[in-house]
């Protein structure tokens, strides 16, 4: 049986991993923008203080929207909404899911059966539909939308964590530790979980992109952030009503696009780092 990856983390020169570097650079740039948004945004994101629907210009690089707000400032401000919520909800989903999965994989038997059927149940629905239903039941609003995404996002972590705990739990190094007198709980924390954390981290990074898309999707459908809040998804939704003023929807759309792309690049590179096939040595 092949056990999990040997984590030979050797990143090598940056130019060998252009996608990782690009992903990291874009993600870091967005984090900096989110932190310093009040300093970076030239105008208020809510003030309707300019002529409406102006095309991009030096004064308003992304133009103004139909209510006379500066789109550039709104896109910058929007990063403070989308990014922290996405990070928090992915962290929450990963924690809940991994705990459930680890419990199922560790105790096996009945606990495993019950928990995994629950996971199957959630998986039976398309995520966006289920998120919509949950968000609609909970009521409109950004907080409820985030909660709805946690509900659809945790099961994939549960499944991955369970599989890994089962696999690593049967590995020879865990058996060796057990033969040396370690209890099964002790090996769980010392040998099993540290080997599960890496792949979960990869999944979470890739999932950040999903969460941002879902969140924007819900906002686009009117179930997430409510006007006048500057949230990228709802800004795109507004933009679609005014196709002749393309800049209103395009720039927040580009913001979503770059963030999603960045986290996908990052996740893929992390996966390579943890993957035994790409991390192997030069051997005969």
């Amino acid at each position: 049986m092949t056990v999990i990856a040997l984590p030979r983390i050797r990143l090598g020169p940056a130019w060998r991993q252009p996608l990782a570097v690009a992903g990291l650079a874009i993600a870091l740039a967005w984090i900096v923008i989110a932190i310093f948004a009040p300093l970076l945004a030239p105008h208020s994101s809510l003030a309707q203080s300019f002529p409406a629907s102006q095309s991009p210009s030096w004064a308003h690089p992304f133009g103004t929207d139909e209510l006379g707000r500066d789109v550039f400032s709104r896109v910058i401000d929007g990063s403070r909404v989308t990014l922290p919520i996405a990070v928090v909800l992915v962290a929450l989903a990963a924690t809940i899911g991994s705990t459930v999965g680890a419990v199922a994989g560790y105790f096996r038997g009945v606990a495993d059966g019950v928990l995994m059927r629950l996971v199957d149940l959630v998986f039976a629905f398309p995520p966006i539909i289920l998120a919509m239903v949950v968000a609609a039941v909970l009521g409109r609003g950004l907080f409820n939308a985030a909660l709805a995404i946690v509900v659809v996002a945790w099961p994939s972590y549960a499944r991955v964590a369970r599989g890994l705990v089962l696999q690593v739990g049967d590995s020879e190094f865990v058996q060796s530790a057990r033969l040396l007198g370690a209890s099964s709980r002790r090996t769980l924390f010392r040998d099993v979980l540290p080997n599960v954390a890496g792949p979960i981290l990869v999944l979470a990074t890739l999932d950040l992109a999903n969460a941002i898309l879902l969140l924007s999707g819900l906002s686009f459908l009117g179930l997430g952030a409510q006007p006048p809040k500057a949230e990228w998804g709802s800004m795109v939704a507004e933009g679609t009503q005014y196709f002749q003023w393309w800049w209103i929807g395009t720039f927040p759309g580009l913001a979503i696009f770059t963030v999603v792309l960045a986290f996908n690049f990052l996740g893929d590179s992390l996966r390579d780092v943890f993957d035994p096939r790409t991390a192997r040595r030069v051997e005969e």
Binding site: R10, L11, G12, R16, V282, E283, E284
Partner: protein
Amino acid sequence: MSTLAVEGLRVRLPTPAGEVTVVDGVDYEVQPAEVFGIAGESGSGKTISMLALLGLLPDGSSVEGSARFGGDDLLTMPRRRLRAVSGRDIAMVFQDPFTSLHPMLSVGRQLTEHVRLHLGLDRAAAEKRAVELLADVRIPDPQTALRRFPHQFSGGMRQRIAIAIALACRPRLLIADEPTTALDVTVQAGILRLLDRLRREHELAVVLITHDLGVLSSVADRVSVFYAGRIVESGGREDVLRRPRHPYTRALLDALPHPESEREQDLVAIEGAPPTPGAIPPGCAFHPRCAHLVENCRHVVPPLLGAGEGRRLACHVDPFKP
């Protein structure tokens, strides 16, 4: 004329830590109906040197030298032609037949597709040829075997099937890379006997790569010993294995359990471990482990020179000169 003549083969592989020389100037020739044995421990470059001939190295690798096969140079041949040649005239058998056989296709399908593609036979003729091939490698009841799948056979039988597929297009050269390493000795013996018969009957030149000197001793006609990407000694089987001249060859032989030796004696282990590509010692790569070294060994790479009776040796000292 030799079937394969390799000259000055040098291979560099890309690694995260930069380019690493894995094969560093290797020459040899293989004659028809001859088993040419390449011995070496893991990391000695023996497998990479073969993959280089068939253009099977990862992207970014660089290969120098020449490899004459028939009238062509395998190393400069266009990729398309190399693929055609290496599918038809050169065959390869690997350590694990499970990875070289397609798990979802029946044995018959894998055999017949191969011969139809390369020899242009029709369905009936291809099937007849497939049955012949399976009978040739001593698969019991070849007709039924055609309809079965690789997982329904044992490791030894799978290796026989892999050999049948390799022989399907009547190749002139067979490269067998550790073909018996994954098998039990009882099964290994059968495969070695099979290889020995096939090369006589089919006039097949065989390059046999293995870490097991016992395997080489039973079927190889000539032997080359690899160490850290170079040949350190080569010559006739009896010469090299009975009267080894390179300290490494001798140490390797001494490390083996000998059936006729006193069993109470400890095995004579070689100190240290073989170097890894990228961290090869200067001078003679074996010098840190060698009991016979002189100052020269630390600085100057000993060239592989003729040592009489068709032998070649790369050693400054030649401590076992007769």
